[in-house]
Structure formats: structure tokens, C-alpha cells
């Protein structure tokens, strides 16, 4: 589906905007739910919970723990394109951007979600949501523009599979560094 010509030009931008909007929707839900969960928990307990979630996710990513995290085991239906050249990709992006409407091949969003749920301010939560959308958009754009195979995306997937462990380490490290930086920023 992503190799379709619809993913060029302004429809691609609509898709990217949808991803950011979807990320913000999930972040908003998490921060609102978190405002209730945080009430009885002292701050150290919240950091401890986020740290535990992060440790579990990293162990899973490293293959040490074998657990299944919940995910929607389906693809976003192609019927979203009935809304037209721009609104279709926009809705597709929103649904993918929420992270709740399709597969989640990595556990990292759960660690980020726990941090948003228990620690983030509203602007920080929205930034994390936009970041999630941008991360997805970056991958999609990069795979579409990966040219050795004529832009079909198959060469990209092959490269991704080949470097899967390295990429998991890299993205996991980026998340850990971000969380540590957030810890430092909140301690000031």
C-alpha cells in the first residue's frame, strides 16, 4: 500500500500530518488518564514505575524476556481511502499515529507511553505525541525514497531486517537518553 503513487506529494504530507495528529490524540488520552493515576502516587513511585516499564521493554527488545504486549493485530483497512486523495491519507495517518489501530512491532512505545502517563506535562505529552508521528513519518518517507530497488520499499525492508538488532539498540538508547534528560530537566 505504501508503494502506491498516492504516497507522493501533498497526499504524503496529509499522511504525515495525520501521524502527528494521531500521536497527539493518544498522548492527550494518556495525560488525562495519567492525571487521575498520578494523584495517589508520590513522584518517586511514578519514576520507579516508569523505570520498571522501561526495563521490561528493553529486556524484551534485547530478547531476554519473552512477553507479548497488547497490540491491534490488524492493518488499517484500505477503505479509509474512500475519503479522497488527501482526507484518506490523513485518516490513515491518524489511525497509524494513534498506535492503537495496527501492529506494534516494538515495545518502545509502551515505555514512552508509561512516561507520558505518569510524568509528562501537557506540552511534553503533546511533544511526545508529535515525535511519535514524526518518527513514523520519517520511517515511511525514508522507505519510500530508498531508491536502490526503484522505491518499492522491499530493499528497505531487507536492510531493516538485516540491521534489526542494531536499530533496536539505537532507538532503545535514544529513548533511554531522552528519559534521562527528562529526569535531569525535571530535577532542576
Amino acid at each position: 500500500m505504501l508503494s502506491s503513487p498516492v504516497w507522493r506529494g501533498t497526499p504524503a504530507l496529509a499522511f504525515d500530518a495525520g501521524l502527528a495528529v494521531g500521536g497527539m490524540i493518544t498522548a492527550t488520552v494518556l495525560v488525562v488518564a495519567g492525571s487521575l493515576l498520578r494523584a495517589p502516587l508520590p513522584e518517586p513511585a511514578r519514576w520507579a514505575l516508569v523505570g520498571t516499564a522501561l526495563a521490561v521493554v528493553l529486556l524484551k527488545e534485547a530478547g531476554v524476556l519473552s512477553i507479548t504486549l497488547p497490540e491491534a493485530r490488524r492493518l488499517v483497512p484500505e477503505s479509509v481511502f474512500r475519503f479522497g486523495r488527501h482526507l484518506g491519507p490523513l485518516q490513515f495517518g491518524i489511525e497509524m499515529g494513534t498506535g492503537a489501530r495496527t501492529y506494534l512491532p516494538s515495545g518502545l512505545p509502551y515505555a514512552a507511553g508509561a512516561a507520558v502517563l505518569l510524568l509528562a506535562s501537557v506540552p511534553a505529552a503533546l511533544a511526545a505525541g508529535v515525535g511519535f508521528g514524526l518518527g513514523r513519518a520519517l520511517m515511511t518517507t525514508a522507505s519510500l525514497r530508498y531508491s536502490p530497488d526503484g522505491g518499492t520499499g522491499s530493499g528497505w525492508n531487507e536492510q531493516w531486517q538485516r540491521n534489526q538488532r542494531r536499530l533496536a539498540l539505537l532507538t532503545g538508547s535514544a529513548l533511554v537518553v531522552s528519559l534521562l534528560a527528562a529526569t535531569v530537566a525535571s530535577a532542576r
Binding site: G99, F132, A182
Partner: protein, 56 residues
């Protein structure tokens, strides 16, 4: 979405952070620091988003 786009967005954020400073109660570096604190969360989300999209 090229590296230049990210660079421009970063420059815009930094500039608006500096512009938010009134020079008296809120020094510019504090405003930039606030933007960076938000940027940390942006990076966290982006790492998760990129990781989860590998096989899309």
C-alpha cells in the same frame, strides 16, 4: 522530510524561544531550555515511532 527541514524547525524553535524572552523576568536561555525540555519528549516519541514503524 529532510535533515534541512528538521534543522529549520529546530532553528524556528530556538528563535521563538529567544523571542519569548522579555529580557527581564525570563532570560532567553531559560526559554530555550524550556524548548529543549519539550524537545526531549519529542525525541522520546520519535524513537518509539521510528522503532515501531520498521516493517510498515
Amino acid at each position: 522530510m529532510s535533515a534541512a527541514s528538521f534543522g529549520l524547525a529546530g532553528a524556528a524553535l530556538a528563535t521563538s524561544g529567544l523571542a519569548a524572552s522579555d529580557g527581564t523576568a525570563r532570560p532567553g536561555w531559560l526559554a530555550v531550555g524550556a524548548w529543549l525540555a519539550v524537545g526531549v519528549w519529542l525525541m522520546m516519541g520519535a524513537a518509539a515511532g521510528f522503532a515501531v514503524s520498521g516493517s510498515t
